[in-house]
Symmetry: C2
Subunit: 305 residues, 2 copies
Amino acid sequence: MSSIGVSERAPLSIDWRAQRSAIDRELSSLCDRHANDLGPQLIEAVRYALLGGGKRLRGLLLLAAYRAAGGTADASALAASIEVVHAYSLIHDDLPCMDDDDIRRGRPTAHRAFGVRTATVAGVAMVPVAALSAFRAARELGLSDEQSANVAGELMHASGAGGMIGGQLLDLDAEGSDPPVEDLERIHRAKTGALIRAAAVIGGMAAQALPAKLDALAEYGDSIGLAFQIADDVLDVTATTDRLGKTAGRDLDLAKGTYPRALGVAGAERRAGELVEQACRALRHEGLLNEELDALAHFAVERAS
Amino acid sequence: MSSIGVSERAPLSIDWRAQRSAIDRELSSLCDRHANDLGPQLIEAVRYALLGGGKRLRGLLLLAAYRAAGGTADASALAASIEVVHAYSLIHDDLPCMDDDDIRRGRPTAHRAFGVRTATVAGVAMVPVAALSAFRAARELGLSDEQSANVAGELMHASGAGGMIGGQLLDLDAEGSDPPVEDLERIHRAKTGALIRAAAVIGGMAAQALPAKLDALAEYGDSIGLAFQIADDVLDVTATTDRLGKTAGRDLDLAKGTYPRALGVAGAERRAGELVEQACRALRHEGLLNEELDALAHFAVERAS
């Protein structure tokens, strides 16, 4: 049975576990490579953040998009670089000045384990590490320096102000208010969607896909990124802390604007389903819908049920 | 009289004020360019951090190194990108979980003005902004994509774990201890030196300097970066809060290892002077010692007297 929770759709030919292990191995090498630079204290926090498990959804997405666009080499190192950005975002999301959360993936959050100072610094240190790793990995896949710089730039752009970081703040600012659905979409497209979109697009860039295909991958990433966030909101309402590995009901505590609040649980699930269909349609139109991208799109919403 | 405080050395031909204004203009355009991405709240904090004055030493260094290496175009936009990294580092240095400082350049620090959350996020958002701006500016100077990626990579490397960010943590960890001079050098070379070194090297890269010249610029940057930090330590002991524009005597309060503690004020000043001579010697050997680089090296220590 597939550990990503899409067993009923995913044929046995997709070995998520092996792909996830390959990404984890690359994350481990990346830590080794930066151990001297980072020094003993920071590297411990970075290892904790990077090697503590996780679904590796963004990395898997990148790999699936790469193959869908014709890539045949091992892009795990590139997939690892996007997971570095994701892991950084989790560290900072959990900080006392942000969501102030104590549990993440069933363990103490980084700032609970290492202190606010080390967690803050470790998080920031991971941004240039990700950019340099992406550039290096892209070159190793045979991309030109120009293409590799574009890949690193895409990752920086998604993790920057217009993307994840900006969305994080929009999200926090919306606390205590009841934003309309359009505002929620804008917030979540930036906060969660930007990096998921980048995963799909960078996979395509690594396979040197043509612009029309990159556009389709971007639309796919956009849609499932939003679907994923809606499902996350639904999970927060319906699941237990034990199952989530992080504090459940947190969003309600923080009086955050969420989809279940705006549309009801059933309405939120319906909207997520529509987005998944839209995502797959965009890919199908460009002949890019492989089994993995189909499974990952459905995973985005089905993990909630 | 030159406003950088090197009037007795700098001939009138060096117009620091004009160069600084050009960098400030580029920082302002950079803010305009990212205003939409950043949104109203973040851009306000970023503008506050970027446009609140400052010596622009790193930017001026980059420009001087560029010209010393034969560059003839206007590299102010590239100089601005290094100031973005510096400004980010100041925001995070001042955070409650770091130095916990209230005053910077005579104004409330960013977290006092905008709150810890916005200051933290604004700081992180500036790292990818700097990388993207450096890449863009390098291309506009006619560098190839490969060369431009190297410039952005150099900046990320200096601001990353092996450089500034790592040094910041080493510095904080050394609080309350009395590290020997060798440890102090290691800390300060990373914390302050890495970005000053990068300023000199990136100036050379932008002018497409050959490796021997880049090495000389790196040695220059290394030496004056350390001299600058020593002078900073001395200033912290000898100057008033009013003159510094930040809280004086802070290092002593924090029982930080400093050069005056390790070598005495006179010993620290002597060491700084030796480093400046060493810096200039390295450049002279490669025919790179122009008036500006000479003046900037001496400024690093003379501002203290």
